[in-house]
């Protein structure tokens, strides 16, 4: 009996629609089989992950890209919530932020971020960063098997 491997679910959390588009563009260009969802603020991200309100049918992400500067609930708070919640803590969280401040980087890892990626400032670098990130997390890395919920 063969089981079709499920399509990896990627959640983008970013308040800048231009960055959502650009990240999606980069992911699409990676030619990987994946499904992208996106939310624009921290509170929405938590609702999405907990399948609350309008997100009752939301897919459980295999990988999450999280911006730090978000309205309502900051990326830091989202990260802390995710890593403090037994049902969510196994999701690999890649912080994807423009900040290169040492305190942001160290603080994110301390809260349990799985990777910190600075948004590159030119198109070729941006595409390369997102694609190699996807290659690693959705290709080479072994991810936890999702429990039925």
């Amino acid at each position: 009996m063969t089981l079709a491997t499920p399509v990896p679910e990627v959640l983008l959390v970013d308040d800048n629609p231009a960055d959502i588009d650009l990240t999606s563009e980069a992911l699409v260009r990676s030619k990987r089989r994946l499904h992208i969802s996106a939310v624009n603020d921290g509170s929405e991200a938590i609702l999405f992950l907990r399948r609350e309100g309008k997100y009752s049918d939301a897919p459980f992400p295999d990988l999450m890209l999280l911006d730090l500067n978000l309205p309502r609930k900051t990326g830091r708070e989202v990260l802390s919530d995710v890593k403090g919640d037994a049902a969510l803590s196994s999701i690999p969280v890649v912080i994807f932020s423009t900040s290169q401040a040492a305190s942001d980087i160290a603080g994110s890892y301390k809260l349990g971020a799985n990777c910190y990626l600075s948004k590159p400032s030119t198109l070729p670098d941006f595409l390369a960063a997102v694609q190699s990130m996807a290659d690693f997390w959705l290709g080479f890395a072994s991810l936890p098997v999702k429990e039925k919920r």
Binding site: N16, A18, E25, T122, L123
Partner: protein
């Protein structure tokens, strides 16, 4: 250390100003005896003889000062009162039973207070009088010549007011410089984000629509991409420039030979590309901020490699002690700099060549200048066009040591 003291006593200074400023114009007209008194003159007398206290205050009142006096006789009382109250002037007897009134000058200095001290004493002798002035007393007046006291007090207070105004001017200048730095930092930092949008999306347009619109469109998009990328470099450099000084300097003992080794490692690619030779003899160990010293040397050497003539660059680096400075030099055999440009090259974003001749944003030398000046030094260039140039920078040996403590 100095600024800490000043900061700690700001409340005293401002109280002083509020009380004292209205008086000053009133006592400025030089009318001995009958000038109307406005406000009061708070006097602290270091004196053990009640009759002398009375005489001194009377001399001041007769000259129009509404003088109010407190009297102390020991260093402890003196310290307590100058901490508690604000005084316009101090009249100190030179000879007291247990201490020397001149020590009040030392106490004020220690407390970070600027209050003129007049020595009022019996026969002092010329040498002692000179010693008083040397150690910071504003003036000395003999007890049997108290008629001279009011004018002397007026002068001391005028001088004090000028000192205050001068200090105020300096403080304002320092504040406006800080504001400007803050502005440069915030502007360059916050510009990065929208600029990233412009750069990446014009690049995306170029990539996706190249050859699909018309030739003009391709050209225009290229201009937009090029402009955005250049602006990114400028903004990043401006940010780097505004960071110098914000991060403070960490002085340590630095072996310049080690610094040079790192510089040469960092410049390995440029060295190979330009076929450069970098020569230096045994360099000294100095007290400096190591990473900043590295940045300055690396910038100067990279420039020497970049602005070479027809011959491959040969660069001499040296450092010697001259007077109170360590003077570093970076000499090259490159294209040189005309004397009329010797100053402008240190101005931020100033370039003498087009970008196609020599790439770069024109930030390097201005960062060098800022770093060197932050450490109390200076930087300059000597050159004969066509025969290379030598960049010098001097870092004070002594100042560096003092700050390191």
């Amino acid at each position: 250390m100095r600024s800490k003291k000043r900061g700690g006593h700001t409340p005293n200074l401002s109280t002083y100003e509020e009380v004292a400023l209205p008086i000053v114009p009133a006592i400025l007209p030089n009318l001995p005896g009958d000038a109307p008194a406005v406000g009061s003159l708070r006097v602290l007398l270091v004196e053990d003889e009640p009759a002398d206290v009375e005489l001194a205050l009377r001399a001041l009142r007769q000259a129009g000062f509404a003088a109010k006096g407190d009297v102390v006789q020991t260093p402890e009382e003196f310290t307590e009162l100058v901490r508690k109250n604000s005084y316009d002037i101090i009249l100190a007897d030179y000879k007291l039973p247990n201490w020397n009134g001149l020590e009040s000058v030392e106490i004020l200095r220690r407390e970070g207070l600027d209050i003129p001290v007049m020595m009022v004493s019996g026969a002092l002798g010329e040498l002692t009088a000179v010693e008083c002035i040397k150690r910071g007393a504003a003036d000395y007046v003999l007890k049997d010549d108290l008629a001279r006291l009011p004018e002397s007090v007026r002068r001391a207070m005028r001088e004090k007011r000028l000192r205050d105004e001068n200090k105020q001017g300096q403080d304002e200048l320092a504040r406006s410089n800080r504001d400007l730095e803050q502005f440069a930092y915030v502007a360059s930092h916050d510009l990065q984000e929208p600029l990233r949008m412009v750069a990446t999306y014009t690049q995306l347009l170029a990539e996706r629509y190249k050859g699909k619109l018309d030739a003009d469109a391709d050209k225009y998009i290229h201009y937009a991409v090029d402009g955005a990328l250049r602006m990114q470099v400028l903004v990043r450099d401006l940010l780097a420039f505004s960071r110098v000084g914000r991060q403070g300097t960490e002085l340590a003992t630095v072996d310049c030979n080690r610094v040079m080794e790192t510089v040469l490692q960092n410049l390995e690619a440029a060295t190979k590309e330009s076929d450069a030779q970098v020569q230096y003899q045994q360099l000294p160990t100095v007290t400096a901020d190591g990473s900043q010293l590295l940045q300055v040397l690396q910038n100067l050497i990279a420039n020497a490699m970049k602005f070479h003539g027809t011959e491959p660059p040969i660069i001499h680096v040296a450092c010697e002690k001259k007077g109170r400075d360590w003077v570093f030099s970076v000499a090259d055999n490159g294209i040189g700099i005309a004397p009329e440009h010797a100053e402008t090259i240190f101005v931020i974003f100033k370039r003498l060549h087009t970008r196609t001749e020599y790439p770069g944003s024109g930030i390097g030398l201005s960062i060098c200048k800022k770093i060197v000046e932050h450490q109390g030094g200076r930087i300059w260039v000597e050159s004969t066009p066509g025969h290379g140039c030598t960049f010098f920078f001097a870092l004070p040996v002594q100042a560096a040591k003092q700050e390191a403590r």
